[in-house]
Symmetry: none
Subunit: 232 residues, 2 copies
Amino acid sequence: MMKAHILYVEDDQSLSFVTRDNLELQGYQLTCCHDGQEALAVISGADFLFDLCILDVMLPHVDGYTLASEIRRRDPAVPIIFLTAKSLKEDRIQGLKLGADDYLTKPFSMEELQLKIEIFLRRRHVVSDPLPALTKLGTLVFDHENLLLQDARGDERRLTQKEADLLRYLLEHKNQVVRRSTILEELWGEDDYFLGRSLDVFISRLRKYVRPDNRLRIDTIHGVGFQLVCPD
Amino acid sequence: MMKAHILYVEDDQSLSFVTRDNLELQGYQLTCCHDGQEALAVISGADFLFDLCILDVMLPHVDGYTLASEIRRRDPAVPIIFLTAKSLKEDRIQGLKLGADDYLTKPFSMEELQLKIEIFLRRRHVVSDPLPALTKLGTLVFDHENLLLQDARGDERRLTQKEADLLRYLLEHKNQVVRRSTILEELWGEDDYFLGRSLDVFISRLRKYVRPDNRLRIDTIHGVGFQLVCPD
DNA sequence: CGGCGGTGTTAATGTGCTGTTAACAGTTGT
DNA sequence: ACAACTGTTAACAGCACATTAACACCGCCG
């Protein structure tokens, strides 16, 4: 299985250092941030979805709760563990309501953190997924189930079924050349001149939709078909 | 949708009563035991798997830890929440190592327990939402059991069974796109043109009913279905 | 370089899907 | 039998979307 990718947001540098060391030693791939804004930028800019987030509640600029709901907006399923100095019941409840999956009170033991991380990661691929299957497309988040395409700023665009199907098809064959005729057979069921022109119209629209991430392109392979080009 | 089946093992009868009442009100199906042996018998005898287990650590005859590993032997994936009087770090860590997924220290608040239950059930998708008799829908209160919808001013509207079923279905999938065909299959049992038009009539009515709260919308996803949009 | 077929893009078009109201039919209770 | 209530069908208006049209452009072939 892939190394689990963990986002860790903590403004206390010395604690952050220790924790990072420990978790990396456990074989996790860590991305550390020191304030909420940085974290948001990292999430928006990443080409992948994190497997788990560990957030300090007290952060400069953007507090942990706000950060958590921003993260949830982009990936409703990712487990979030809050770190907090307070251990008041009301704070815990507030945090759980706002989307935390678990709570750890500072000072915490590394062992306990590791155990809690394992608990959530263990379940990561067991999920039978009625939660929308989200796909990262560069910095965009594509939700085929809900026909939604979200850009790095969090703006959502609603797609039609055909648009979503075509985008998914290209995504399933990203960085590969797909033939016009294959797409038409696959998504339209037949292949004639006019449906071909229809396909062109759709490609044109998708190009507009993916423009927010300028590393994404849909290349034309003249006389053959198209190729969705994207990093990773 | 299936009610979530929860095993609750607790030897303190008065606490057990309160908790049971609360959780059943939330729409969970509870099986209560008062010691470890009874719990083991129940698990062995049941012809279904529990969706979640809540175990007191201090139990007569068989302690919570032993019980937990027995449960795990039968169902390695079921989430287990421990209830404990102690809140020592060593105890928590010990518990987590032995297969607990979360820990709650007595005395605990019912709200926190409910939230923690939800966190684990959500991930298993046993129930995307438990179906409490009363559900808040923005400022409205929806009582599916009694077919009542109450607005912010306290005015009550009586719903028909189908209206209530449809509203509940949308609520169970709020902020998700639900397909016409799925709704029809689920609530009407079949999917043809006329039933589809019937569905439109019902959606039209529900739109009227939820208008008192202008943050609530039922969006049409052309050619696909509907989406109940509501805050939180 | 010149032509032709393939493609990009925008706008117009028409079909099918949806919103809504009202009539209708079936059921229940009186 | 009647009234009240519920779900379905009808009818018509309105809209969204896939398709078609139109025109500009490009790249490959001679």
